[in-house]
Symmetry: C2
Subunit: 493 residues, 2 copies
């Protein structure tokens, strides 16, 4: 009947739902197989030229059949992953994802709510997982929070609240130039680059971020911090914030958070913690004490897609003062005015607490993951990864041709191949080539960093699929490749 009246109307739904359903079930089986058998595949493989050529084809004007699009995916995309779901991926700091959370993404995209606000169940799910995260990290029940894309955004939100709250005038309206003095903030030299980015974005200028030197354990030197604050005050500047790091990206070092909290209290400064990498250690009764003080901060950045193993993107920012948080971001023009009843009501409008107005239902995968595992299991998994780091460190220490660089803090182990009799420059060249050949072998994927001029392999274990035997295989392969390289020096450099 509808079609009789308006014959030409079309939609983006499948024309043949039955055929689509068949394909969708095949896709699901393929994805489950992919996850179940990930251990049998290489961690990583180079992307072949024909794949790159295919992914250069111009804009399609006409529809392509669903089956064809999926075949393209199976042929050109799925076989050449980054590799982080694999049990022997330890590059940068990334989680694996889980099958249950992947299903949650399908459910979330089906419901497809906009989580900016309004009255619907999904918003209560996000409010609940924020409450759970407050509980996990020892934050007061009255604190506020927001799920965000990751720690880059969580740090940006936290620092925005800090800047706007401590400016001492209406900085949102008048801007930075209206302030009486240059605002400055502090972090250790090992602070993550996203804090630099946030400081630039906020208009403070990177020079405003004072990088405090670290001690031999790569932790912020608090005497140097005190001196820098005093010097800036003498120079007529306006200190407003200290960024503590709970797990640096290079070595997993944890700043003395209690010490920083005390300094911030005495100095009247905002205390922000970048807990992207290490804060979750708090869930472990065994090692949680290493992040003592993480609950003392005014704002806390978390990355659930790292050591809580959820799929990208899942970050969270918590702010002790709900009011400060809201006052830094809320603006409610007419077309977003909140009503008392109906669709446009609702107790929490998440768009009042961050940059985004349209927001997806990432809360569902967090809800699924926390319910699936319970917080205690996350604590055990953290302990498992830390014990694997200790185990790897021991394997490295017991192997003559390997040299550990930097103490193991949390879950990060930095080491290099060093057979003796080589200069640091030669060792850098050997280890660079070694890492590339290790990647190309498909056996394991650490990343690398440079510590005091030394190029080192960096194994960051935020991997729920790793087993101790995986580290045995890593060490064996590194030694094999390294010895081959010094036998065939032409392959290097």
């Amino acid at each position: 009947m509808e079609n009789e009246r308006f014959p030409n109307e079309e939609s983006l739904d499948p024309e043949d739902w039955k055929a689509f359903r068949g394909l969708a079930h095949r896709m699901l089986d393929d994805m489950l197989d992919n996850q179940q058998h990930v251990r049998q595949r290489p961690v990583w493989q180079p992307v072949p030229p024909e794949v790159k050529a295919f992914l250069k084809q111009p804009l399609p004007l006409e529809p392509q059949p669903h089956e064809q699009v999926y075949e393209d995916f199976l042929h050109y995309v799925l076989p050449y992953p980054l590799g982080n779901p694999h049990p022997r991926f330890w590059g940068w700091v990334m989680g694996n994802g889980t099958p249950f959370a992947a299903m949650a993404e399908l459910l979330a995209a089906t419901m497809n709510p906009n989580m900016g606000g309004a009255e619907h169940a999904a918003n209560y799910v996000e409010a609940q997982v924020i409450d759970w995260l407050k509980e996990m990290f020892g934050y007061p029940a009255g604190a506020s929070g927001l799920l965000v894309s990751g720690a880059s955004m969580a740090n940006l939100v936290g620092l925005t609240v800090a800047r706007n709250t401590l400016a001492g005038y209406d900085i949102r309206t008048q801007g930075l130039r209206a302030g009486p003095r240059q605002m400055v903030l502090y972090a250790s030299q090992e602070v993550h680059s996203c804090v630099h980015k946030a400081v630039e974005l906020l208009g403070l200028g990177r020079d405003a971020l004072r990088l405090i030197r670290v001690n031999e354990a790569y932790e912020m030197d608090l005497d140097a911090l005190q001196q820098a604050i005093a010097a800036d005050r003498s120079a007529g500047l306006q200190p407003f914030c200290v960024v503590g790091t709970s797990g640096t990206v290079n070595t997993g070092a944890i700043d003395d958070l209690q010490g920083i909290a005390e300094i911030c209290r005495n100095e009247g400064l905002w205390f922000h913690v970048d807990g992207a990498i290490g804060a979750v250690a708090i869930l472990s009764p065994e090692v949680g004490s290493c992040v003592e003080g993480v609950h003392l901060c005014d704002s806390l950045a978390l990355d659930l897609h790292k050591w809580m193993y959820m799929p990208f993107e899942a970050g969270c920012v918590l702010v002790r003062s709900e009011k400060d948080h809201r006052m830094a971001f809320s603006l409610t023009p007419e077309y977003l005015a909140h009503a008392d009843r109906g669709l446009a009501s609702g107790p929490v409008w998440f768009s009042d607490y961050g940059v985004q107005l349209s927001r997806n239902f990432r809360a569902l995968k967090v809800w699924f993951s926390i319910k699936e595992n319970g917080s205690l299991k996350f604590g055990r998994m953290v302990e498992q990864n830390i014990s694997q780091a200790q185990y790897l460190a021991k394997l490295v220490d017991d192997t003559t041709v390997l040299e550990r660089i930097a103490p193991v803090s949390l879950n990060i182990v930095c080491f290099r191949f060093n057979p003796g009799g080589k200069s640091n420059e030669e060792l850098n060249e050997i280890n660079q080539e070694l890492l590339i050949q290790l990647h190309e072998s498909g056996i394991a994927a650490p990343s690398y960093t440079t510590l005091d001029g030394n190029y080192v392999l960096r194994v960051a274990i935020t991997n729920h699929r790793s087993k101790k035997e995986d580290f045995v295989l890593l060490v064996r392969t590194v030694v094999e490749i390294g010895l081959q390289l010094i036998d065939h020096p032409k392959m290097i450099g």
Copy 2:
């Protein structure tokens, strides 16, 4: 054997893959049913108190069975949606999502790459969809782009590039206070609130955003723009950017983009376009001319989860000068240094072009959607929605007790119930109550706005499932509720 050596290792994978697979297929069938039969359900329903109570339960410490978690979802979450996938949801400006793109989200979460950079196929997929979007919007092949969460972020990225490029000094290092003059920018009074937010975040202060008056069609008055620029220059300020809007949120009005482009060229200003709502009209041969000039801007913000109907989150920013884009955001410390071979190589590191370092594979749903439909079909769907807006406007105009407010521009229709003989104040009260009762009826979900003090129902049609008969039902229901309300005035206010 593994388990013999290290008996206590556990993972977050299902213990019983077979049982998990069975549940996953059931979930998939439920989600397909949900999408296939969305028309049979109410658009929206109030969230019952027992749901809110359930979603207040404290942090689970122990694991819950997958089946139980899913049952909780089915019982407490799925039945109380925001409603935007429904054919009669026209609130704010939201897309529906599609079944194929929802499947892409499952695939993306399974592969779970971090799209910050490195060498893997997914990055080439994102590069390809950015090329396709450049082609769609008439942008040069050498331009750069980035998929982002939505237009709030796309506008923020565009304005950051504008600020950093036109500052005239190293603003990233030195900050806003080091500049010789206050930087100011321009947009119409109808500009979206996210531009206010971006300007605040960037430290410019909201006062730096000059709101130019609009004409009777709600388009920026270019004479007033010229005068404002001249006045600011005379006052010693530094104009740097004009933000044009291609589809305002209130009425769908489109600024004279060619006119703004010319002014920017003459004045040496950055031209940014917020195309979140209307830019996609360019895909329609029939109505594309209404957004003429959208390709002339220096940066363009797009929202693919609006009028391209993709699931949240899918935004995109395009920047004409790749170098300006990269110079505004790239910072490459040691642990992100890019290699020539191996996992850490790769031609494009998307983290060099925006705020996020960890990024998910949202590109896959964009790739799936564009391949599934082809660009021509998106153009037809835009035309369909515009013709539905015209159809609704005619229905409203032909109904004595309804009054259309504002011209129909693009796909947005604003009207109110007005039986005659009532003051504007009374009409505002009647229409407020009418909208809530319309939501509660589950029949249709427009949102509302205020135009010249009048509370009006606002129907924004970015809905691939709407049919013309849905607008017939809307008008009939609005009239029914309105007439009931004036018969029973106690129900109001």
